[in-house]
């Protein structure tokens, strides 16, 4: 066992650190950096992305011929670890570079790769992903958005949902049904969609917590040229699975929820009617339990990084992280709000320093138990794909889709 980087990775880290110190605007925590609206965020992200691209840090694990860094996934993660010490604009390019571009490289024609990959890496074009639909969440293959071939084009009608970044994206990966008489999974095809094309309408979704981090995308008679098709007609399910597999490479990503360190930090400062919160045995026990979970998950990330270094791709066991961390964040947030007594009914901004993060975990923790695979689906994944338990009987996969859809 050895926690050090390999010599070559250590050198990469040192160089990255030096470059970041010279080019990244503000160290995290020293003063606040905010992007008040999408336009400002996108402009800042574009500027930062072009700086990284110039230095070979824009897409470290992607091939050099398209402007990538030609490095390893481990180096990609090392750079992200270092980058997260700075207040740089995150959230604009992650989906494009993490999921869409690898999919284009895996499935796209040479023409598609030439047209799109370099521009995505340089930051010139922003990408999003249009898979989920109102009636196709956990059961993605139940999607109903239709693409009908008309001459050399496909005509798309339908509705997508939970599309992050749709409002500022240039292109998206679109999964649509091209054959309703085929079975559920066999009738799908994966496309590139121009998000500026006529008939594409993006509407923000208002969330429980008032935020608008996701969108609905309405598609009415949107024309997609056949050369934007990424899989053979009917081969979209396997294509979409390729995209989702790349999501797992996002090892150790911070999902922005509070953990045991926040609980320790706040409870050490918090005076309650019965004394300091960190002296309360009930709080102390939850501190320990939360630490056991989040520290354990961090150690499991080390194991995944070890496997990555050995050339193994992260498997379905990765599901454990979000499964544990999201409901724990909800639990810690509820505990901390309880500790404020009657004040626990106030919004986070009224509770003082650090409490907005608590409120966010109270509200967004609920969302994170759903987004990217519900708790229930993740337990199924662990049971079936890690432990080898049999799938439940179902009969929706063998009939033509148009006979099954209720």
């Amino acid at each position: 066992m050895d926690f050090a980087d390999s010599p070559i990775d250590a050198q990469f880290r040192a160089q990255a650190r030096e470059w970041l110190a010279a080019h990244a605007p503000v160290t995290r925590g020293r003063g606040r950096v905010a992007w008040p609206d999408d336009a400002t965020l996108v402009a800042a992200a574009r500027e930062w992305q072009s700086k990284k691209a110039a230095a070979g840090y824009a897409a470290i694990a992607l091939p050099r011929e398209y402007g990538g860094g030609g490095g390893t996934t481990t180096q990609q993660i090392i750079f992200r670890q270092e980058e997260e010490r700075y207040d740089v604009p995150f959230g604009v390019y992650e989906i494009g570079l993490g999921m869409c571009v690898p999919t284009l490289l895996a499935l796209g024609s040479d023409k598609v790769k030439e047209r799109f990959v370099a521009r995505a890496i340089s930051g010139a074009e922003i990408w999003c992903q249009l898979f989920s639909e109102p009636a196709a969440g956990s059961d993605l293959a139940a999607l109903r958005t239709k693409a009908v071939k008309t001459g050399e084009n496909w005509l798309v009608d339908g509705q997508k949902v939970w599309t992050t970044g749709a409002q500022f994206s240039d292109y998206g990966l679109l999964l649509a049904r091209t054959d309703s008489s085929a079975t559920k999974h066999a009738g799908l095809t994966l496309f590139i969609i121009d998000m500026r094309a006529p008939g594409v309408e993006v509407r923000p979704i208002r969330q429980l917590d008032g935020g608008v981090e996701f969108n609905e995308v309405f598609l009415s008679g949107v024309m997609i040229p056949d050369e934007f098709r990424l899989t053979v007609p009917g081969g979209g399910w396997a294509g979409a699975m390729t995209t989702l597999m790349f999501e797992r490479l996002n090892v150790g990503a911070n999902i922005g929820l509070i953990d045991s360190s926040t609980l320790i930090d706040i409870s050490r400062r918090l005076e309650t009617s019965t004394g300091r919160a960190s002296d309360d045995p009930h709080v102390r026990d939850i501190i320990a339990q939360a630490y056991l979970n989040d520290r354990g998950l961090k150690l499991l990330t080390y194991r995944t990084l070890t496997n990555l270094g050995r050339g193994q791709l992260p498997g379905p066991e990765q599901s454990i992280t979000k499964l544990v961390i999201a409901s724990q964040a909800q639990l810690i947030a509820n505990l901390l709000l309880d500790l404020r007594g009657q004040e626990g009914a106030l919004v986070g901004s009224a509770l003082g320093d650090g409490w907005e993060a608590v409120e966010r975990s109270w509200s967004f923790g609920a969302a994170m138990r759903i987004a990217g695979g519900t708790d229930e689906i993740l337990r199924n994944v662990i049971a079936e794909r890690v432990l080898g338990l049999p799938a439940a009987k179902r009969d929706d996969t063998t009939r033509p889709f148009n006979e099954d859809a209720a």
Binding site: L208, L337, A345, L346, T374, E376, R394
Partner: protein
Amino acid sequence: MEFDFSEDYRLLADQLRRALEEAAPLEAARKTVDTGQINVTAWELLGEMGILASGISTDFGGNGLGPLPLCLAAEAIGWSVAAIPTASLYHATPLIQSCGSPEQQDRWLPALASGSATACVATDSALAVEDDHITGVISPVSGGTGASVAIVRANNQLWLVDMAENAVEQEALESRDPGRQLCRITFRNTPATRMTGDDADLALNHAVVCVAFEQIGGASRALNGAIDYSRERRAFGQTIGSYQAIKHKLADIWTKIEIARAHAMYAAWSLGTGAVDLPLAAAAARASATEAYLFAAQETLQVHGGYGFTFESDSHLFYRRARALAACYGPAVEWRSRLAARLIAGETTKH
């Protein structure tokens, strides 16, 4: 053995629920998240149905029906997630009834019974008093915005402050549940009159029992919504309600609600009969109902999947209200601690 509400009460409960569903539909509760407005129609309805007057003796404009109708109303309020100043009804009114001087009762109870006045209570903070004038800050106060009268504690006694006095400053606070308004009240040498009783516990127990019914009402509505949704929503070729993960979650929610309801019913009986085991019964009702609503709101949101996280869904109404009610008289863990102390000391219930 007759451990249930009588037929009359069950009819009343139905009436209350139906009336409040109409006066305070969930769509109104959703609007309140943005406006923070009290539902005046619902409040007036409770007045018309005699609920506001039920805890007040007939001498002072009440109908003397006792606490049971109010408990049933509280359940219907929880069911409809109505935005009304319940602290006046659950807590302040019985406190003036039990501890007010005859003059105070005469001045305030008829107005409370008719609904023309509301009152708030903040007896946790110790304020300074000098020559019958109060100075200090109470915060956060539930239902303080717009209250005509406040009950506070100073010099270890209860005082009543007429909020029309101009030396009172009110500042609205931002609540996570705008349907339950909170505010900060600053007294600066404000005239106050002393209350003659100083046993605040009966009214506090009255309040938490009412809140327990409200929590059970909310949890039941959240459960019903999740049952309906899981019978409609399909995934992998079946309705999601046919999957054990959903089934067992909903069964667990139901179990918590049923247990909490049993405790609340016994506490209501203790309240109605003046049984000596009210403190034990009220603590049990408070602790179990708080847990039941928090769990029900959280897990029924989960059952709704992504839709449950949208503002358009009902889930967040329950999620907000469950948190507001968990905070309003202190968290369940504190009540469990009180309960354990009584049990270890050997206290038992009558039945």
